[in-house]
Structures are given as C-alpha cells and as structure tokens.
Symmetry: C2
Subunit: 700 residues, 2 copies
C-alpha cells in the first residue's frame, strides 16, 4: 500500500486557505509557495478571489482539475463535510491539520472515526487530524504551518508530536542537519509511522529514518513492515510514554518481571529498530547513519592531538562494547620512525599538540593501511599549531583513498573548529564536539550491520502439538467455574504441547493418593489442590519426600487438616500427588501478555528466588526463531550454569530451546491463556522436567 | 596548606619570556596583560630589554621586588636551575609550563623528582610541570599560553589534560559558560587537584568545582580533603582512564567481582563527589549547580506548551528516580478554571501551543503556590504565539516570588529561543535545549542535597580485637613457607577479630580426626588440608555429613587417597574437621585490595554461585561507618532475603553489620592480608557462622 502522489502531489488544494497573515490557512499557502513547490496550488475559500497571488476557488467542485492532495484547515465541525467533499471530487490524499478530534475526548473520537470511514469509503489516505503537516525537501513541498523549511538532506523524520517537528526544525539550522521529509503524524487516524516508514524505506532520497512516537496502534503490522524496512535502512526510534503505562497489576512471576516498557524494547530489538534514549541521541545517531557507511567491524583506531581526549575516547570504546584496533609491527615501526619521539604510537595515536595537518596525514596513512582498524576517529583540539581546516581536508582525502574505512571526527572546541567541522560535514564525515556520541554512534552502527548481516530468520514451528487435548482441559476448567488450572491439569496442557512435565495426579482421597503414588513410584510430593491457596507451603499444604504408602496416606490427611485450619474458606479439590524428580538446574519459562505486542516469553534462573535473582530475559512469542531463542538464553546467567559451571556437566540445551519454542507456540495458539509460569523446570544432562506449571485462562 | 598569593599574586615573573609572537614565552606575557592583571609583570630574558611594553630583566636577582609567582617556560634542561633560582630569590609560587618530565620516561621522572625536592627545600608550591597554566577571572590573572580568556563565572575547572583546558575554553564562549578559575594540572608533581579543590572550596567566587582527572596520586588525602570540600560545594568529577587499568589478575572471588574502575566509583560516592560520565554531562551539571540552588526534594512539576516534550520529560523524571508532583485539589480546580478546556491540568501542565506568556504565568503561579512541587521545569517550543522572551521574564518573576522553588528551562529549538535562553541564563536559571539533561541535573542536585543533609559519619570502631593472635598465626604460616592459610588458621584469625567461625581443626591422622569430631560434635565435614588444592570438591577432597566415628575414620582415608591420586604433586597437611553448621542464608563477606584506595570490603549473596549472581556491593574499608555498612547491605539482593523473604524469619542484621565492620578492621590492621573471602557465612535468625574463611597473606 504505497503512498501515491502524496509527497509528490502534482497539485494541492488548501481547504480553509486564508488571506490573513498569522492564520494557519494563510501560513500553509505561504509555506507551499516558499518551499518552491512546482505543482499547482489551489486555495479554497468561498469569500476570496485571490490568496497569496494564487486564484482562490469557492469549492473543490470549481477546480479546473482533480488535485492529488488536499490540505484541510477548517474548523473541526466542518472537517467531516470537507473530507466527504474531497472524496466526491476524486481526491486521494489528505492532510488534515485541524485539531479537536480524539485528543479532546469521546465526541472528538466519534468525529475521528467518521473521518476514517469516509476515507475508507472513497479510498483516500489521510495524514492527521491534529497534525502540523508534512514537508519534503526533494519534491519540494511544504503543507505545514510551521515556520521555516528544513535544509535538504537524507534524514526522514516522523513525529507523533507536532511540537517536536517545530522544535527540531528550528534547532536543525544551527546544527546543520538536513532532512528529506518531516511528517507530523498527529492523531494517526489513518496513516501512521508504519506507512511512512514503509514509504521512506523505498525513498531514494532517504538514508535514515527517524521516529518520535508515543504509542504504536497496530503492533502486528509494525513488526511486519518495520522488520522489512530495517533491512533496507536504519530506523531509529525515540519512544516516550514509558512512565504513563503505570504499574501493571500482574500476579504471575513473569508478569512482575516484565516492565511496562520492556515489550517495546524487545519488539524494537526483534525487528532491528535502533532505540534512542534521548532526543540528543536520536539526532546524534541520525547524523552518523546519514553521513557514513557502517564500519565493517568493531575495531576503532584513534588519531588525536591531545592525550586526555584520547583516553576519554578509549574508555568509551570499551564501554560501548567496541575494540581498540591493535596495529601490526610494520605500522608501529612506521609510526615510531615518522612521528616525534614523545608521540604515542600505540592506539590511540597521539600526534601531539604541535601537530599540523601533515603529521595527522602521516599518522592516518599508516593507521588506514593497517588491516586492524575498521573505523578511524580523528580528535582535534584547537592548539596553536592545529589547522582544523587542513586537518579536515586530510581526513576527506583519506576517506577517498581508503573507502573501506569509516571516519569520524571529534573536534573539541567552539568557533576555532567551525570551518573544519563544516568541511567534514560536507565531505560526508560525521563530526561531534565530544568523544562520547561519536563512539556511541559507531557502536550502534556496528550492531546494526551485524543485524543486517545476520539475515532474516524463520519462526520456529512444531507439528506434534495436540490442540484438542488443551481445549478439552480448558473446557473442563471453565465448566468448573475456575480460571486457574490445577497443577495436574496444567501439566496435561504442557504435555499436550510436548513439554516434559513431571507425573502428577489429583487424588480425592488418601487411598487414591496411595494408588497414584504406587503407579508413579516413590518418593512423591503431595500438594494441596485448591486454586484459592496461592502459597501452599505457608499453610502446610505441601509434603515432600514421602517414601511409602503409609507416609502418603498420613500426608494426605495432614495436608487437608492444615489447610482447613489455615484457610477454612478455601475450597479444596483434594491433594495432588507428584513424582519427586531428581534435582536439576532450576529454570523458569514463563509468559506475560503485553497489551500491544501480545505474549512475551521469558526464560532464566528459576526456583523460589526468581523475583530476587531477576535473571529472566524476554522475547515476543510472535515470530520467535530458533536463533532468537538461543540468543535469549545466552543473555541469562542461567546460560553459564547450563553450559556446565564449575566442573558440572552441561545441560540439555536442545531440549530447553525446544521447550521455550513450545511454550511460545502454546500461548500463541491459545490467547485465552492469560498467565503461564513453568517454575521450576529442571534441566538435566538429558532432558527437562517441568515440576510446577501454573496456567490461568480467561473466560472468553 | 592553603595557597597564598598563588592566584592572587601581586607580582609575576615570566621566566623565558619572549618577544617572538607565537612562542609560548610571548603568549604568556600577552595573556597576563590582556587578562587585565593588576599586579606587576616582570618578563625575564637576558637578551631583551623590553617585552610587550614591559621592562625585561636579565634574571630574578635583578628584579626590584620579591615576586609572588614565577611562571617558568624555559627548555626542560634549564628548569631545575630556574626553580632553584626562584627558591633562592624567595619566590613561593611557581607555574612550570615546560614539558619533558615524567611524561617522557625515566630521565624526565628523575628531573621532576629533583624539581619537587627543590620546591620542598625552599617551601615553594608548584603547578606543573607540563601544564598549560592557570587562569582566574576574578583576580584577574592568566598565566597560560592558551588562546582566549574565559567569561567571568563561578565554576572552577581543574583539568589533568591541558587539551581539555584549551578545548573547553574555546567551546565555552558559544555555550555562554563562565569560570572563576581554570587550572591545567599537568604532571601534578607538587600541587594536584586535591590542593585546588581545597582552595576552591573556600573561594567565595566559586560555587561549583569541576575536575577532569586521569588518576589520583594521594588517595588518602583525596578522601580526607574532598570529603570536607563536598560538604561546602558540589565537586563534579569526570574520571577517565578506566580502560587503561586493564584486566587485573585476581584469584579471589571478591577480587574478580571488583572491576578496575569500581574503587573510584566507591571512593567518589563515599566522599560525596558527583561523578559525570561524559564531557557533556560534566558541563550540563556544572551549569545547573552554578546557577541554581538544589531543590528541597524530588518532586518535579512541569509546565509545557506542547504534549510530546512533556511526556519525554515525565519519562525522565521517573527514570532519574525523581517524582512527579501531585497537585492539591485547589490547584487543579484553579488550573481547570483558568486554562482552556483542552489544556492538561494534571502534571505535566500543558498550557497548549497557542499559550502566550500570560498563560504560562497563570499556570506557574498555581503550580508554585502548590506545596507539592519542589522544582518547576518550564518547557517552551517555538510555536507561532509563544514569546520566549516574555516567558523567560515570567519565570524570573516567579523565581523571585517563590524563592523556595527551583526553576529549570527546557527551551526546545534554535535561534527562535536564543533571547529567551539568555534571559534565563542571566537570571540564574539553568536552561537546556532538550529535557533529559535538565532532569538529570535535578536528580543529581537532589542526591547531592540528601548527601549534605545526611551529616558526617564516624568510622566504626572495635575494642575487643586480638591483634596478637592474628600476628602469631601469620608468623607460623610464613615460617611454614606458605602464604595461603589453612581453613583452621583462617578461622582462628576470624575469631580473634570477633567474627563467629564454625569450629574447625586440622587432623594429621584418622584418629586425630575422630578425636576432633568427638569434641565438636556430629555431623562433621572433612576437607583436605592442602593450600595447593584450590577446588577441593573436584578432586574428592571433601566429605560432608559424616555422622559417627567410623564415617570420619573412613572419610579421612578416602580423602587422602583421592587427593594423592588426583594431585600427587600437592603436599597434604592432613584433613580439616569442621562441625557441620545448620544452613542459614548464604552470604559472602570479602576483601579486595585496590592499589589506589586500599582495601575494599564486599558483601552480598554467597555460596558457590557468587560469581554468577554478582550480588556483591563494595565500600572502602577506610572510614567505613555504621550507616555506610547499612546502606551497603541494603543495596544487595541479599538484603531482601535477610529481612525475611516469602514468610521466612528475618536474619540477624546487627550481627552482620558487626561482622562486616570487623572484617574491614582486620584488613586495615593487617596490610599483609592480600586476599580474604568469607564464603559462605551463614546468617541465622540469631548470629552468624563463617563456614569457609580464605586468607592469603604476603611475605613482607
């Protein structure tokens, strides 16, 4: 669903155009004109004959042609009619500036829904309502009412906040930042960041896509579209509103461990989005990705005319997970011979405070011809001898001579370095005032290219899952007016999906308990079966290590007595008998459902201290690949144990990978599962055993 | 040891002054003159009669007075003579610019030592060598060769990198940053950041102290002096060189857990230093602390003319550990009544994009008279109606009217907001372009004022420690040609310092083992006694849960056989018999010695997974107070267990606090202890029991 003649509209009607300077309807017409827009501009206003030297028309019906795009800036009450009018007149693209819709409450929301219906009816695409408009510097076109027009560039910026459009635009001139497009997304009634990301991914004038968003409305489509876009171009997102979500009441372990913002973090990671944490970082990264190719690897060389900044940069290389390049003996010898005795020849190469451009050139030549460096960071401090202009020209020469290396400037100072910075910027070399953003950008670029090179991965699939049995269990549970499954029921569900669960059965009498224990073999554990009793141990509802019939019989009776005493109001189904499994590495596999992104699967160190250890990593269940599960497990501390810790034998990683995938499949197949924790699940040298499976379903 | 007539020298001699423009000896004279220095300037040069319109003198002996300060800029080979000459001529303060000392190697280091000797001999204070000089805008004086002179301000900046002085100076004009002093510390042969921090803490023109340092040479004095300074003024430090330290070979658990940079982190925390992580942060914080008082508490109110930036700011308030102010009903009613219907009246207060200064004023009035807000962040985006100049004046009015509130500006944009920013800056209100640094600064200010208000704390002391017994154990160990103590010896050391250790004895024969077991009572554990065997379990060197004489007898023999088989080369002293203690909460108390700061004490979750769990927090043993130990423990996950987790009884916190203090005392009293781990130490409802004490000492 590409946008057609939206940015590149051949003609634009401005509905609500005005002659009065200061009015939005006037600003839009002026902006269209001053942007250098080459198509036809038709102000629509029944009371005017001419606006800003363009003939005004009373209505769309009076226009000499069917326009490609209409910008609507009439009062909210009249917008519905106008949109309908656009549809009738064959217009396919709308920019609705007017506010007073979803953002003002119930009534506005209804109006907005009506707008969308009309758009659908006539096959129109709409940006807004409640937006500041859009700009494209390459068409060029400017349908916004904002003051100013961006410098031409290759950054596309889509923002859910109109204020951010205005603020960043004003700020961008001094920062020397150019844009291909800027779009204020407004209420996202129809077109959203997803459409514009898709569009920009195919736009030859855009090298990097930036987004400021506060929410995602269609997360499934976001994941699908953006996963594809990130394989073409970097997509950098600043997502705010993390604190708004508020505390989510979650009774399961897994739910409590997954923060409200976590799902976004994971979704972005899984679809290759680079997440910026601050506004500054958003644009620092944009500069790097827009100007430069990604380095081929993590090895950084530093050439500096001052020690201190060299050290700060070195620190950051390590901090950001990059590596300092190690030079070959030949490089070191050449540097030693050609540089003054006091110079630093190991990385960072310190060409000293009295270095002029020729010494920078010499050092850079040697560093660039060394196979060890993927990127070269050139630091310049405005000393008496340093000529930043010449230094910059030298860097650009080097870039041409060594196209496989990536260059970054860190020019520490103000006015004295301005010209040098400008030369770098024009020459396509990112330049920062301080070392930290440069190194952070290199790190993100390296990670991004690793992502690109990792290739697309397939969702893990299973044939041997038994949906029917699971359905049957859920049916019985609901019929019993419950939503929490008994342990034995949950184990049945797990087994139906091929997850090895320890033998467990419900016994309604001491005799039944003995029978079950005899069948599964001793020792066994007895646990009270009552969904009302959350912490069974605390009320004496658990007996472990029962080795014979007599102990089981007595255990049953004691449990019933304890629980009746402590929780007389809790209905007790009986006692569950579970075979006591040999102790393995205690893990948890769990699920929490995110309102946006659906089920998240967590895995990590389990046991009773799971909330204390906080060793659980998460992924979206949707689209989970084999490799992604591997990466997920490798991020946990549990991984160290699983590989064999302190002389212990490694655990069955294949079985664990499989089990995580199966849990993901289970919760995707059954949206009615609202909570699921398998804790602990023991991992052995061979196989697994799910000891405690907790499942809650919804009445749906 | 205050500096006398150093910055405020009444007369300055420039040794090595030159007439040649571009030479350092010329730049210094020019800088002195152009700084507006009011004292006498005496260029010293035997070949000139006049330099920059000041009479030149052939030597110090020819001067008409004893000068307060000499700046030395002669070649390195002549510096020693010149410094000696200064001493003979009664000069008490030196700034040695010349390079070619410690930084060029062995020979330079010897020269530098000689300089220091001469300084000591004549009672002179020296800045440098190898420095870029110093500046003071209030005297004013400029003895540097850097281009430019800072704007007057109240930030003192001390930097170990001369390049940072030059870079920040050049950058500061555009940033509008003013300084009281800037000092390039150079090689810190005599005067160091410690002296200048001490000086600046008492300097009425300095409100905030900034440091860029790469190392600390006298850590004991640093801790003492800086602890006092931070109680007077904020000290913000950017410490680099964290990656230089490299991997530290550390065989003990505690050593491996303490990173190379950790000691600095802890030292800074313990003496109240605010640690900046980036150059940008260093100056962002400087602006805040220089301009503003610290807020009284963590509650932030936001007044904004745009939603998006309000949300970003709200996110950051939570992220930085601050709180959003909750307004009273009266405030909300007033805001509801006075603002447009679409405005946001809950915090953040959104006065909408068409707000002019009067609406900002109204909202701020209400927010400021609400008791809930400690600080007020005003966000302005350059909309068509916003008049940032008027908005700034309004903020300044508010500041005068509500002096107990702290105001911060976040003016998002470029040129359009420039004048507004300047008004805020002059009015003493920190203003940033984006929300994140504003909120981060507020957070640091709140933390700093909590530190100030916490009051100074006394070092924990113990009377009942038995040094003599410890000495006796160490003597025996060394006489035995060992440095690693046996478990029984280490337990004796622990007990001598009042740390409860489980009964343990060395047995040389199976019969002795049985005797010892009888004495301490069953069950017991047997462990092979051989310092060469690190992982006793792996070689069958441990037997647990031995319940009677027979088991002990056989256990002894089996252990000896296993160990002789697996490690035939290891000398075996016998087998240690230890009473098996009831299982408590497994903790570790350990020590690692930092080269700079001496012993660090660590505490946290212990047991065999200690390296996996990484739940150990550290403090410097030196000066450790009772409250600091409490804070330290409260930072661990172990704390949750100790307070009673999931229905368990709380553990003996008093005993643990005491034990941590005693371990600190032990390692301070015995510098020959190079490694110490007590792991596990069981914590019970009452008391502790150290189960495994490992101590290594040095041959000293």
């Amino acid at each position: 669903m590409a946008l057609k003649n939206f940015f590149d509209a051949r003609s634009v009607a401005v509905i609500g155009a005005s002659r009065t300077s200061g009015k939005i309807g006037n600003a839009i017409v002026r902006n269209l004109i001053s942007s250098g827009y080459g198509g036809s501009i038709y102000p629509i206003n029944p009371r005017e004959s001419e606006i800003e030297e363009h003939t005004a028309y009373p209505s769309l019906g009076d226009l000499p042609e069917v326009v490609d795009l209409a910008v609507i800036a009439v009062p909210a009450a009249r917008v519905v009619d106008m949109v309908e009018d656009c549809g009738k007149n064959g217009i396919k693209n709308l920019v609705t500036i007017t506010a007073g819709f979803k953002e003002v409450g119930r009534e506005g929301l209804d109006l907005e829904k009506r707008l969308l219906e009309i758009c659908r009816e006539y096959g129109m695409k709409m940006l807004g309502p409640n937006c500041a408009g859009m700009m494209d510097t390459h068409v060029p076109i400017n349908t916004s009412f904002a003051k100013g027009f961006p410098l031409k560039g290759d950054i596309a910026f889509f923002t859910q906040s109109g204020a951010m459009m205005i603020a960043i635009l004003d700020w961008s001139y001094a920062a020397g930042l150019g844009f291909s497009k800027i779009v204020s997304l407004g209420n996202k009634a129809d077109l959203s960041e997803i459409d514009f990301i898709e569009e920009a991914a195919n736009d030859p004038y855009t090298r990097v896509i930036l987004c400021y968003i506060e929410d995602i409305t269609d997360s499934a489509r976001f994941l699908k579209v953006v996963s594809q876009a990130t394989r073409k171009k970097p997509v950098i997102v600043l997502k705010s509103g993390t604190s708004q979500a508020g505390a989510q009441a979650a009774s399961s372990h897994t739910g409590a461990l997954a923060g409200s913002d976590l799902a976004y973090d994971i979704a972005f990671k899984q679809c290759g989005v680079i997440r910026a944490r601050t506004v500054t970082e958003l644009f620092d990264l944009a500069v790097a990705f827009a100007k430069s190719e990604a380095p081929r690897g993590p090895k950084v060389a530093i050439v500096t005319n001052s020690g201190g900044p060299g050290i700060i940069t070195t620190d950051n290389v390590e901090l950001q997970g990059l590596e300092m390049a190690r030079f070959t003996k030949e490089t070191l010898d050449a540097l030693r011979e050609g540089l003054p005795a006091e110079a630093g020849i190991y990385n960072p190469v310190d060409v000293l405070g009295d270095a002029m451009a020729d010494r920078y050139r010499f050092a850079m030549e040697k560093v660039c011809s060394d196979p060890g460096a993927d990127s070269v960071v050139v630091i310049a401090v405005p000393t008496a001898t340093n000529n930043p202009t010449e230094t910059s020209r030298t860097i650009i020469d080097m870039k041409q001579k060594y196209p496989e290396k990536v260059f970054f400037g860190t020019y520490m100072g103000g006015e004295a370095l301005e010209e040098g910075r400008e030369i770098l910027s024009k020459g396509g070399i990112p330049c920062y005032t301080f070392p930290e953003p440069a190194i952070s950008a290199i790190s993100q670029m390296v990670k991004y290219s690793q992502y690109i090179n990792s290739g697309a991965e397939c969702e893990i699939t299973f044939s041997n899952v038994d949906k029917r049995s699971v359905k049957a269990v859920f049916y019985d549970v609901l019929r019993d007016n419950r939503v929490v499954l008994l342990g034995s029921e949950a184990a049945d569900v797990a087994r139906a999906y091929g997850i090895a669960a320890a033998p467990i059965s419900l016994a309604g009498t001491p005799e039944e308990a003995v029978d079950e224990a005899d069948k599964m073999g001793y020792p066994v554990v007895l646990k009270v079966a009552s969904p009302r009793i959350m912490h069974k141990t605390d009320v004496g509802g658990v007996k472990v290590g029962l080795g014979n019939q007599d102990e089981v019989y007595r255990g049953y009776l004691e449990i019933i007595e304890n629980c009746s005493h402590h929780m007389p109001q809790a209905y007790i189904y009986g006692v569950e008998v579970q075979k006591m499994m040999p102790r393995g590495t205690e893990l948890i596999i769990g699920m929490t459902r995110d309102l946006q992104f659906g089920p998240l699967i967590g895995v990590g160190l389990g046991g009773i201290y799971v909330n204390l250890l906080k060793d659980v990593t998460f992924r979206l269940a949707q689209g989970l690949s084999h490799h992604e599960i591997e990466r997920m497990i490798s991020e946990t501390k549990a991984y160290t144990l699983l590989r064999g810790y302190r002389g212990e034998k490694p655990r069955d990683m294949t079985a664990l990978l499989d089990a995580v995938g199966r849990v993901a499949r289970l919760v995707l197949d059954f949206p009615e599962i609202t909570e699921l924790d398998v804790n602990p699940i023991f991992a052995y040298e061979e196989g697994l055993s799910a000891v405690d499976v907790k499942i809650t379903i919804s009445v749906s």
